[in-house]
Amino acid sequence: MKTLALTTIGALALLAACPQKRVFQLSSDENNPYMLKQTLDKRRLPTQPIPVNDSKQPRVFVVTVGSPKTIVAYDLASGNVMWKADADVQSRISVGGDFIVALEGNQLVARDQARGAPRWKASVSGKFVGAAADEQRVYVVYHAASGYVLAAYDGKTGAKSWSADAAGELGAPGAHGGVVYVPYLRQWLSILDGSTGKLLTRIRGIDEQIAMLDVTSQRAYYGSKQGVFVLDEKSASGKRADATYGKVKIPPQLEGTSYGLDVYDPVQMMYTAAERKRVLWTTTTVDGQLQLPGEGYAIHYFRYVLGFDTKGELTWAYSNPRVELVASDHTGSAIVGVATNGDVVALDPRDGSVRVRKSLGTTQPVLGATFDADGWSPSGQVEKSDTVAVLVSIARDRDARFDRVKELAVRRLAQLPGPEVTQHLLAVIADPRQPQRLKDTVVELLMDRKDGSSLPVLTSQLRVTTDYIANTQPESLAAVAKGIAGLGGTKLEPKDVSAALAALQLHLEAAATSSGELVQIIAAMVAIGGGAERPVLASHLLLYHADDNLGDDAAWQKAIVVALGQGGPTEREMLRYVAHDPRTRPKLAALIQEQLGD
């Protein structure tokens, strides 16, 4: 009997040591509504969003640059650093009930969450792909010589609970409520029992890859860069149309923004710049449809957090002072972020006002961070939201990486009324360090603004003339003229119009005004002059009709002839005279005759 017992124990041990039969296979039951419902019912999820950690306190675990790096555990609620520990962190940190876990060097290391001391270490028998944790366990995917493996470890002891082999590529896992999610071959999302490793069910994405996984305390999102599915009973359809699926409008200027990590990208398993371009949202499901809260959603883009309403219109903006936010999260009630310099900010998702601003007190730059702060809702307001000021600061940012974001900012600015906004837009044009493309955009926006109150601001911009002694030149003359031209048809104060016409005339008659600028000036005078500009334009035409320089400029010819051609009999008579004057430049004469139909 003893021999039998030993043999049995030996066999069991051998079985335990060997991987189970391959859990992840190409052929398997999938998109099974019954099994999916059973699986979803099995999850033990909180009724309200709360942190994973046993204390249920909002926390962030930050990794700072160094050799070795340092982990800083920070209690968001109290604003205190819990501990700091040097560690050769080589992966993102995952947060469990009373532990955290990360790849340190080439070992999986779990640390006591309250004190930071290493609790256990485990070798990873292959190339690390990713890890996740729930209250009790750590789940690790690695690529062994024999293939991909998902292994589970006890969070307290580090004992290996189970492992599961895969016939193909696995992505980084996610976990909550006793189940573990593992993307498989970009096509499936497998859901396993966290305690046994048993495959509970799997979902196959029929019309979209599954390469993104984002797990909160209550919901699991999966999908790709195109959009996001919420894991629920409708997921069994595998199709966007029949599932709870959604996406938000991501402005093209915020290139590279994603909904979550690409679980197949080994680079993103460490903290990278990819986390600085992220959609931050919280959703509910109403009548089977993914629904955003009333305030909409936000996008973290490097230094900036931009708020958008449900229609995708930019509503607020936050610019982190001086340095970038390297990590961010939506807790459901707040948007939290950690900056390179160790500042921690919490924003109100409704308007971008700052509710909390603290400092980790780190001396080294922050590399990345993992939040465990679901449901955290800090009260108070330390800084009011000033979207206009932020948009202006974005627009005038000299960092060339943000040229597209600046475009987004000026487009939003231009939608706001008021002369001060016009002033800000003009400042962008006048800044020699701004890219021409942005300036061109601003000019277009100025033309489209149709804000009559801006006319005095535009006029004041025309005060500067070319002056050798004072070393001045007009700033953005053509752009300002275009802005004025854009006000054509808008209700304008007569005194503002008179002042604008006088200022435009000054430049019309200035020697240094280029022909291109003259064209814009003429257009502006026509747009707002209501006919009062015609005598001045007539004089201008007479002065240059026989000039072999400006008089031969095709754009100028067209501008001045069209402008005066819109006039009454007096202007038409004058045009006829010019057309028949033998000194008139030939192409100008022909153009006038064409305009008059003579």
Binding site: Y468, Q505, P535, V536, L542, L550, E573, R583
Partner: protein, 292 residues
């Protein structure tokens, strides 16, 4: 000429007197308009129709000659013809002749016509118009000359500085001082032409603030002016030049010595000679034997 009449009136009213939109109610009726209307009723005593036709014709050479002829004529109709042609827009090749013609018999309406060309896109036209405006006491003419000192083109600034000197335009002093500080020779020459004792002292005080060569040139030219004095003032100028370390100071003083007779003795000349001898180590008079 019916067409030109209404054009002339329109252009003068709206384009010749500065920003038309800024002061629409204050824009004065152009003097030429009424005068022209009155004169239009009279038959010109001399037939200028050929010259007028040539002035307004396509042959630029003939137009320039016609402008010269009309300018030389004392007939009011000739002057009016030049004004008309300028109002209707002359090609740049003809403008200088027309301006020169106007200035030969200056009249108040000329200023408005010339000012219109003082900001012309062609620098030579601007220079010529500004040079002509120097001949008019009208404050608007002076304003145009002063404005020309700020022109981005050096040749126009030079023409303006020359005009300012010729017209002794006091408002031009400050901008010309600034141009002097930038080393503009024309400003030095213009200031020298218009300098009285007060301005000369002011210039002398610019040592260290303006390029030495420009200052030496300006002070040297003042010294050489026969109308500048009395001699104690010239002595002060010589002493101011003596403080200039640049070799241009010696050139200025040598030029002064060359330009003035040795007798009767003039303290300023003696002072200048002393300075030159000290700088060069000998008598310039003895060296070249001039002005003995």
């Amino acid at each position: 000429m019916a067409t030109t009449k209404w054009l002339w009136g329109m252009c003068v009213a709206f384009a010749l007197s500065g920003p038309a939109f800024a002061q629409p109610a204050e824009a004065p009726a152009p003097p030429a308009k009424k005068a022209k209307r009155d004169r239009g009723k009279k038959k010109p005593p001399v037939d200028l129709s050929a010259e007028i036709a040539a002035l307004n014709g396509a042959d630029l050479e003939a137009a320039a000659k016609a402008a010269d002829t009309l300018g030389a004529s004392a007939e009011p109709a000739a002057h009016d013809a030049l004004l008309d042609a300028l109002a209707l827009g002359l090609p740049p090749a003809v403008t200088t002749n027309a301006f020169t013609g106007l200035v030969k018999h200056p009249a108040p309406p000329d200023v408005a016509a010339l000012r219109r060309y003082a900001t012309h896109h062609t620098p030579t036209v601007r220079s010529a118009a500004i040079g002509a405006l120097a001949m008019y006491p009208d404050p608007n003419a002076k304003l145009a000359v002063v404005a020309g000192l700020h022109d981005p083109v050096a040749s126009v600034r030079a023409a303006s500085a020359t005009a300012a000197g010729k017209g002794r335009i006091r408002d031009a002093v400050e901008p010309m001082m600034k141009l002097l500080a930038k080393g503009e020779e024309a400003a030095a020459r213009g200031l020298a032409v218009m300098a009285d004792t007060e301005l000369a002292r002011k210039l002398a005080d610019q040592l260290g603030k303006v390029p030495e060569a420009s200052l030496a040139l300006a002070l040297g030219l003042i010294l050489k002016r026969p109308d500048f004095g009395p001699d104690p003032e010239r002595v002060e100028i010589v002493r101011a030049i003596a403080k200039i370390a640049d070799s241009s100071a010696v050139t200025a003083l040598t030029d002064y010595l060359d330009a003035t007779p040795k007798n009767p003795p003039r303290p300023s000349r003696q002072e200048a000679q002393g300075v030159v001898e000290a700088r060069l180590g000998g008598s310039p008079d003895k060296k070249d034997g001039k002005n003995q």
